[in-house]
Symmetry: C2
């Protein structure tokens, strides 16, 4: 096989780009860069290690999947003391669903780092989630459990996990807010604008005005998410009023 | 409900017994004893926490199951660099199989600590494995990832995991040794005796003699395991002779 020299050999400029990219995504400096490179190596690149073993992200994906399950389990255990084993299992599988992991990988634009011999347009949707899991596996090997936990907390739990929405109790906070405004005969406005700032990801900000008051602001990686987040804040701020009005 | 006072209230003597028992099984001193008590609390005991949430080992079992999967994944990742994702998944499920976990729990006599309102004889086999998983969950909460890893290494991986046997390449080393002896017209003898020593678990020792030579010794928690372990050692010691004789 041909060992693609641009992947593992020392090319200071490209290594620097990769290092910078990883540091932005991870939120810390990777130590063993080779492990992260492996996390983006598609099997089609047909790379083998010194002993002839195929080298690609699939083994790291196996590791990352397990680690992700553990950290999410711990989070749910603490967060929902009243949930029994069946509930915890169901919630965990919603959080680590293929669909959800693909969304996470897409938001981080992980596909930009993938090395393959197949054009990117030929990949299915699952590559986003698979590479995300492989990245978690790489963090585990490079920096251990604690860094994995921090990464999953900042990249998965804080931005994406909403227990009430996962439980299906609340489908959309935006619709609850709109319903409340209509009932109260109040005007409302979602003002959305791009606000990426120094962030590695494109971000949107939302300012939600009800009547003449700005009742909530939020920021997220998509317009829809930012609106939903602002609505959730507004919803809890208005909770008292809603309760009284019923 | 009645809160069984002998479980959670302060009974110095009983707490001391439980603490001693846990310390022997864990190989380290537990910090938050209450978490471990929960790991042995069967749902039939019908205990509830201060907020009225049911309290039993099932939530800890959920956590321990995830942690066990992660540590075994990491072990396999390192141990079998040539195994692909499918292989790793298959091997992991063999190691954490219900049957295997029940065996682990039984060997540690975990059922002796279970608090329930059902007589022990009424439990099925799975309680052994379930409580073992809950114990792993308790370690995770009490002492964190590192202690979990150490515990699983010393109580699962070192004494029980044999990659070649799991792969089905070798069903029984004892049968290989016997076959070799018969082919070579040599006498053999497995001398088995109890040798618990200072160990928390009952142990057996085996001395394997072929012809006039003691070729291997081993110690394990059952006669069968000790024989198998001695046979494996003998098999590798005899490997050269076997190769030459073929």
């Amino acid at each position: 096989m041909n060992f693609p020299s641009n992947i593992f050999n020392s090319h200071p400029k490209e290594d620097g780009d990769f290092f910078g990219g990883m540091t932005r995504i991870l939120g810390f400096k990777p130590k063993k860069l080779d492990i992260y490179k492996k996390a983006f190596l598609h099997r089609s690149a047909n790379v083998k290690d010194a002993k002839g073993n195929p080298m690609n992200y699939e083994r790291l994906e196996f590791l990352g999947d397990a680690m992700l399950g553990t950290i999410i389990s711990r989070y749910l255990y603490n967060e929902v003391p009243e949930g029994d084993e069946g509930y915890l299992t169901k919630m965990r599988s919603k959080i680590v669903s293929r669909e959800h992991l693909n969304e996470l990988g897409k938001d981080l634009n992980l596909i930009d780092f993938v090395e393959s011999r197949i054009p990117r347009s030929h990949f299915g949707d699952n590559i986003h989630g698979n590479v995300f899991e492989a990245l978690v596996g790489a963090i585990y090997l490079d920096r251990g459990y604690k860094y994995c936990e921090k990464f999953i907390n900042s990249r998965v739990i804080i931005p994406y996990v909403d227990i009430e929405q996962l439980e299906g109790k609340v489908i959309s906070y935006k619709s609850l807010v709109i319903e409340w405004c209509q009932k109260q005969k109040k005007t409302f406005n979602y003002h959305v604008y791009e606000d990426t700032g120094k962030d590695v990801l494109k971000h949107f900000a939302v300012k939600l005005t009800i009547g003449n008051n700005v009742v909530a602001k939020a920021r997220a990686t998509s317009k829809k998410k930012a609106e939903e987040r602002a609505s959730k804040r507004a919803y809890f701020a208005l909770q008292n009023k809603i309760d009284k009005s019923e």
